[in-house]
Symmetry: C2
Amino acid sequence: MGAEGHADGTVGKALDVLDMVASHGRPVRFSDLLAQSDYPKATLYRLLQTLTHQGMLALDPDQGTYALGVRLVRLAHAAWAQSSLAPIARPYLDELAAKTGETIHLAQMDLGQVLYVDKRNAARPVEMFAQAGKVGPAYCTGVGKAMLAWATPEALEQALARQSFHRHTDQTLDTPEKLVAELQAIRARGHAFDREEHEKGIICCAVPILTRSGRVLGALSVTSTTARTTLAALEDQAGLTKDIAARIAAEAESWRFPEQS
Amino acid sequence: MGAEGHADGTVGKALDVLDMVASHGRPVRFSDLLAQSDYPKATLYRLLQTLTHQGMLALDPDQGTYALGVRLVRLAHAAWAQSSLAPIARPYLDELAAKTGETIHLAQMDLGQVLYVDKRNAARPVEMFAQAGKVGPAYCTGVGKAMLAWATPEALEQALARQSFHRHTDQTLDTPEKLVAELQAIRARGHAFDREEHEKGIICCAVPILTRSGRVLGALSVTSTTARTTLAALEDQAGLTKDIAARIAAEAESWRFPEQS
DNA sequence: CCGTTTGGTTCCATTATTTGAAACTTAGTC
DNA sequence: GACTAAGTTTCAAATAATGGAACCAAACGG
């Protein structure tokens, strides 16, 4: 984990530290962070101090532990409302969940990884942050492949470099070559499948959410299990899913520029 | 330097820019940001580029606008789960809401401002300012005053310096002196009131959430309107509210150090 | 009780990054 | 085709970050 690609500048390092604190999932002591990172003591210290002073981290003086700060929660609120597709897509996800009766995922791309920003479990809708924020691999999930298939060449290249190509199941596409070939097929077909590539028994059919100009905003998937259904049955829902994706895209675009005059 | 207090180092400036983008509530053009900040063109440009490269901002190439990035949502997930009292407090808020039938707010302090981290609406909800994820002033809200009343001298001083003391209503405490006097009364009494100091017709009774060592973790308020109830009636709930606050504090403390030999 | 370790904080000369005025490159107008 | 507005790049000077080492404090061990 220490080897974060190219942490440009001080800001990159600071954000790297932020991620490090976040990844622990609980307040961390200075020395834990020091052991984990390969920053020198003084450097890490000042980085932490700056972040704390900025409210991005909070130092618990009783325990000498660092936790993520409230300023992050505030920014998060804005990010959620503004940048993510989730608030726009909410009613559409409800509709799709109701019509298909299956689990629905809404995902966006985050530096080569898939970020699930919203979800509907076949039964019940969930709280804001409870589901948002989970990340997963791009190369072996339906939503990931759907987004990669329509990514720009540069974005694709960057993303490919960040994939681990770990062989989760015996269906996993475990080389860039296999993946690129699959992406072409997906583009031709218009939707992506997950053929138990990430988790045994889990299958899905995913479509990209595209602007009119063809840029990828995110992806939408209908997920189920081999026990309950088949890929062919899921594919029957692809038309509906694409329709929903198009409506989300349309609303996302109009929502972002209400001052068109 | 500019209007922003003390933006130490490059990281501070970058976060400042992040806030600036967040505050717009919608994607912003470079030139808008340039006009708003007093950073020189090139500086702001590189700052934005760094943040974008780091995934904290997202540049919409179609429109040339910047929005908050998905990495922020991911961090938010961690922040929400880890740093905020919200996940711990959730069941207690439910209980308090059920027993009082009024609106409940859970807040924490964010650089001199009040951050509402969770909320329960009354059976008959009232339109008001506070919302989860939103920030508000400290000097004229119940939760704000409750937290300030038990803040350390240093924290109080810093916070005071950041208050605007804008006179929202004719009940607003509009000078540091009045506020400090009120804080003393609050400490003596054990809970804070909001006597329509922020919004006309809105009253509340708030208590701090304190660790055993006396450190402020947050505050909890029971809020209503003058039309529906009185301060005295709200004060009757203070005991219950304090009890809930104590239970939240206890759980927050034990939750943070499960590895206690 | 004192020497030692552990965990955290500060110094400061060196080094590398950031800075920002100005020059430049596009797109878009008239 | 000249003129503008908006965004991008350059480069020497200014500034901030760096990190080895020294320092401090509290806990530990004999």
